[in-house]
């Protein structure tokens, strides 16, 4: 698999912070892969996502290299879609869903509003919003959190980008909606042959569908590799600790159960 982006010795520091949020990152992003960036709070995983998408705040200092195989840096919105954790903050509360989904298509694909609205309707169908024609005219507050996140995904994909970055997109959702959103993302990315960069704190969630995982801690890359290899034979003690702290329904309970 060819590298879509080669990240070398990347260092990112926010303005007014002497301690960098990311240091010495070497990581390849392969074209068409589903790459999970995994880390706890303060690991630098969201900083990496924002650096790739060029969404860092003013005054942030970036050192090192990001070499893109397509020659130019992907343009956010057109070549690269971004879905944030909290759709109620990333969607504009005073614009209709239709305007927000159509906007990217109109701007980057040069469509008229009319055709952009048709595309928006199609996108809402693809993210499986019930009654999409009605939702097109609705405002974000009229939708549930899960539906808002579907809208945010539709908006991110409206211009047909080759790369999608999803930053903790299910953290604000309940488990059932989380499972639906993850399978939707997986399916959309597969269909379109897109590259997915999936940022999460949940190693188990990533293990279900990512081709490769990169484990981050305290602003550094701990290890990266194929999902199966990292999960079955983690090299780093931190990865092992992360795996050990995972809890699912087969984990022995902490309480003593009555034997019946």
């Amino acid at each position: 698999m060819s590298a879509l982006c080669e990240i070398r010795e990347l260092e990112v520091a926010y303005r007014g912070n002497s301690v960098p949020a990311l240091t010495n990152i070497d990581l390849d992003i392969h074209a068409g892969e589903r790459l999970a960036i995994i880390g706890e709070s303060g690991s630098g995983k969201s900083t990496l996502a924002r650096t790739i998408a060029r969404l860092l705040p003013a005054g942030a200092r970036v050192r090192g290299e990001m070499r893109w195989s397509i020659g130019q840096v992907p343009l956010p919105g057109r070549d690269l879609g971004f879905v944030f954790q909290d759709p109620s903050a990333s969607l504009n509360p005073v614009l209709t869903i239709g305007e927000q989904v159509a906007e990217g298509a109109r701007r980057h694909l040069g469509l008229t509003w009319r055709t952009a609205y048709e595309r928006a309707l199609d996108m809402l169908e693809r993210v499986r919003i019930p009654d999409p024609a009605k939702v097109l005219k609705a405002f974000p507050h009229q939708l549930s959190g899960g539906q808002r996140q579907r809208v945010a995904i539709a908006a991110a994909l409206a211009a047909g980008p080759g790369i999608l970055i999803a930053d903790e997109v299910t953290s604000a959702l309940d488990m059932i909606v989380q499972a639906e959103i993850v399978s939707l993302l997986d399916e959309l990315v597969r269909e379109a042959g897109m590259t997915l960069i999936f940022i999460t704190h949940d190693i188990a969630l990533a293990s279900g569908f990512a081709d490769r995982v990169a484990i981050f801690r305290d602003g550094g890359l701990v290890e990266a590799g194929p999902t199966g290899a990292i999960l079955t034979s983690p090299k780093d003690v931190y990865t092992r600790a992360l795996l050990a702290s995972h809890r699912d329904l087969s984990t022995p309970p902490l309480i003593r159960e009555a034997t019946s």
Binding site: D174, I176, Q178, T232, I255
Partner: protein
Amino acid sequence: MLLDIANLSKRFSSGGRDVAALNDVSLTLDPGETLGLVGASGSGKSTLARILLRLTSADAGSIRFEGKDWLALSGAELRRRRAKMQMVFQDVLGAFNPRATVASVLGDPLRIHDIVPKVERPREIATLLERVGLPASYASRSIREVSGGQRQRIAIARAIATRPSLIVLDEAVSALDVSIRGKILELLVELQQERGIACLFVSHDLAVLRAVSHRIAVMEAGRLVEIASARQVIENPQSSAARALIAAVPRLVTGMPERPHHDV
């Protein structure tokens, strides 16, 4: 029986529609027992917790807590008895005065409920901090200076400060990193065993509830659709809601089914 919730109902009107947030919900809790309350968003689990905490009123139904009609209590009597029912929320920073110090966060309930005489308060605060795994020197810190996991420990210390018989936890570990989450759950279980506190643990995460609950109650669209021992609900779910929640728990997929190891 410590808590007896009977036929609780609550309706909200939302966008011109009348929505049953809680529909005829009944459940009980024994002293020292943890009941996990699980459901998707909008299932009514947080409404139930809020009514129980008297943060909102019920339309119908009754709650008996420690043998008293809990919903009939008001004024000084309600304030006094609140010491016995404490709470821990998800967003602890939002629950605290941002200017508060750790000492004042823990000192307030001790003072309000007159748990220990004033002169003994600093020692009691130190004991509480140590009990939840924090150094006593943390008392002088600002509540904003401590990490999310430490703040949740302080919230737990405050909850146990008034020597409650019931703690209501609403998504109390959902915002924490997994490595910290496990330690907080261990602390809760330890405290419960040591002090015989009952817990109503509200969460959308069945894996968390499996870890700490004796019984699990499943809610869907305002109704209680299943209640049984934790093991039974997980291993032999009876409702479609429980089955959907079980299916949604992420599992570590460590195998590589496409490329088995033995074909080398």
